[in-house]
């Protein structure tokens, strides 16, 4: 793994694009300017990222904290004189629901690396053993998947890229990606109606994988066809 300390890539590309705009001068069309502006607005998520376990939440600890909060709240209610059996059973149900959500959050965020491909049009987050999260870099809010088993939408909240997934039985998952320099943060929130949500934050560090030297193209009859004609792609 190679660690480098250099200015954030997005700020470098911003400078390069500004220079391009300046050099282009009055010839730049409104469309070009809009496209460049879009790219300037989005931080650079592209690259290979590996999990920084030292900085990331440990799910058992996060679960412990959340369960403690639920118990403290229940105790507080008891001290206030609300010792109604439903309050106690509600706390038990909340705890059971939080444990389930925590286990789901852990399962979803288990992969220790992600690969992000970012172009002027889209951003694609590839996770092992899971479907890629894909979003346009242009639209502010967009529906990206809709099926009886769930729906997904994505959008931008300032510099954060947010994916919202709605599953059956009212369970929702939110992934919030944020990049700062060489650190990618992913906050995963699992929620359901009528009970406390569970948050898990992971940090990733950028790394440079060994280049395979292959360039691949998708075909219908032969799947991915790769050749050694290669240009490095982040």
């Amino acid at each position: 793994m190679i660690h480098t300390t250099h200015p954030p890539l997005w700020s470098l590309s911003a400078i390069a694009l500004l220079a391009a705009l300046w050099l282009h001068g009055p010839q730049a069309s409104a469309g070009d300017a809009e496209q460049l502006e879009d790219r300037l607005l989005r931080p650079d998520f592209g690259g290979h990222w590996e999990k920084d376990y030292g900085r990331s939440d440990h799910w058992e600890q996060a679960l412990h904290r959340t369960v403690q909060q639920v118990h403290q709240q229940a105790q507080l209610q008891q001290r206030r004189g609300d010792s109604h059996p439903t309050a106690i059973s509600s706390a038990r149900r909340q705890t059971r629901a939080i444990i389930s959500k925590a286990r789901l959050a852990e399962m979803i965020t288990r992969p220790d690396s992600v690969r992000i491909v970012q172009t002027g049009e889209l951003i694609r987050i590839e996770r092992p053993d899971d479907a890629p999260l894909i979003c346009s870099t242009r639209e502010t809010r967009q529906a990206t998947f809709d099926n009886v088993h769930g729906s997904e939408s994505c959008g931008w909240s300032r510099d954060q890229l947010v994916f919202d997934i709605q599953l059956a039985e009212g369970v929702s998952i939110q992934h919030r990606f944020d990049v700062e320099g060489e650190t990618l943060s992913m906050l995963t929130r699992v929620s359901s109606r009528g009970s406390r949500s569970f948050d898990l934050r992971h940090f990733f560090t950028r790394y440079e994988p060994r280049s395979s030297g292959l360039e691949c193209v998708q075909t219908l009859t032969q799947g991915q066809v790769c050749s050694t004609h290669s240009r490095r792609q982040r």
Partner: protein, 398 residues
């Protein structure tokens, strides 16, 4: 250059399908009927061993189809891919209709054309309302050269697993088995309906129609000379006002021009046929995957209906997430196959564009140029002075 083939795409899809369909093996899912016209069902194409007498053969032009279908899977990220497939279909499906009409042996020449043509006896326009591996809905209109409508109907057809059992070799090993179009019944119904419309007309009607077509084309070349021979009822419907004399030299020249024009539109038709032959194998495969995708979506819907449970249980959450995850992987795989289809058919589509659009501009411009050129030639042959510098311009790029 080293080439590696990682056969992830179709095989992953096949694996996913076999997983999802395993539970339904005894009762294979059938695409659910959707609102719209009822499917045409099994249709036998009405053919004849004895083609019509030569002077009663109607020439048909099938225009490149319009597209009015909306793909529900389209998102901002993949809309270009699906749009390219739809565009390809607007060129491909008319060729299937043309082949069906030719196979019936009930007509004269049938050609696929990029736009309306004044020389054909019958012009067919089609709009794709819906197209997937499981269903096809087309709106078809046919109008003769006199402006009378022969057909205006929406046709719908469904394809089932049995239509895809003659699976073409995905790897291209060995001889390719020719796969029948799964929606041949739709095209057969269109052809039969046209035949019915034809049989409602007398031989005299057909002869008159052919004369109108000839004069229509002649009037397109030289309005001054031929317009008066056609009458109009005010609604755009034409009738014969009078016929030129059989030995009219002008008519002979028009016939010669018509022959040249037919060579031009034959060439255009061959371009569409070349595209059809180039992409047929891939399109068959693509539609098979598309059919599987529709079936999988229906299986998912059924499973979802039967599984409402408490969200507090981790196993329920895990199972729900897994279903969502696999549904999305499946969808992504399908989008990947769509991209693969577009990548693999791109050379054929580019070739069509190169040949049809060519150096002389778009095919519409070429038509305009060609008709201008024909008019000019006609003027020259009939004693007019041919002025201009366009005589060395070729309407069709080689």
């Amino acid at each position: 250059m080293i080439t590696i083939q990682a056969q992830g795409g179709p095989w992953l899809l096949a694996a996913l399908l076999s997983l999802s369909l395993a539970s339904c093996a005894q009762n294979p899912p059938v695409p659910a009927p959707e609102p719209g016209p009822p499917p045409v069902g099994a249709v036998t194409l009405m053919t004849t061993a004895q083609p019509p007498r030569e002077d009663l053969q109607l020439n048909i032009g099938v225009r490149v189809f319009e597209n009015a279908s909306q793909d529900l899977r389209t998102t901002p990220v993949n809309e270009t891919t699906f749009a390219r497939i739809r565009t390809m279909e607007t060129h491909y499906l008319p060729v299937v209709l043309r082949n069906t009409l030719m196979a019936s042996n009930q007509w004269g020449v049938v050609r696929v054309l990029p736009e309306d043509d004044p020389s054909v006896d019958l012009l067919i326009r089609g709009t794709i309302i819906e197209s997937s591996g499981a269903s096809l809905t087309l709106h078809v209109q046919a109008t003769d050269s006199s402006g009378r409508e022969w057909l205006d109907r929406v046709y719908s057809g469904r394809a089932y697993s049995m239509h895809y059992q003659q699976t073409p070799s995905a790897m291209g090993d060995g001889p390719r088995e020719e796969m029948k179009d799964p929606f041949l019944d739709v095209y057969a119904q269109i052809a039969n309906d046209l035949l019915t419309a034809k049989t409602e007309r007398t031989e005299r009607d057909i002869e008159t129609l052919i004369h109108i077509s000839e004069l229509n084309h002649a009037a397109d070349l030289s309005p001054d000379a031929f317009d008066a021979m056609l009458g109009s009822d005010g609604q755009g419907r034409l009738s014969l006002a009078r016929l030129p004399a059989g030995n009219d030299p002008m008519l002979a020249r028009v016939a010669a021009m018509r022959e040249r024009h037919h060579i031009f539109i034959d060439t255009i038709d061959e371009y569409y046929d070349a595209l059809y032959l180039d992409v047929k194998h891939l399109y068959d495969l693509w539609r098979q995957y598309s059919h599987d995708q529709v079936v999988e979506a229906q299986t998912s819907r059924r499973r979802a209906r039967n599984s409402m449970q408490s969200a507090d249980n981790f196993e329920v959450l895990r199972r729900n997430y897994d279903r969502y995850r696999w549904a999305k992987i499946f969808e992504q795989e399908f989008v990947g196959l769509a991209a693969g289809f577009v990548n693999e058919t791109a050379p054929a589509v580019l070739e069509l564009n190169r040949r049809v659009h060519g150096l002389a501009g778009s095919v519409e411009e070429q038509y305009a140029q060609w008709r201008e050129l024909l008019r000019a030639l006609f003027e020259l042959e009939t004693g007019g002075v041919f002025q201009g510098d366009d005589d060395d311009r070729l309407p069709i790029s080689p």
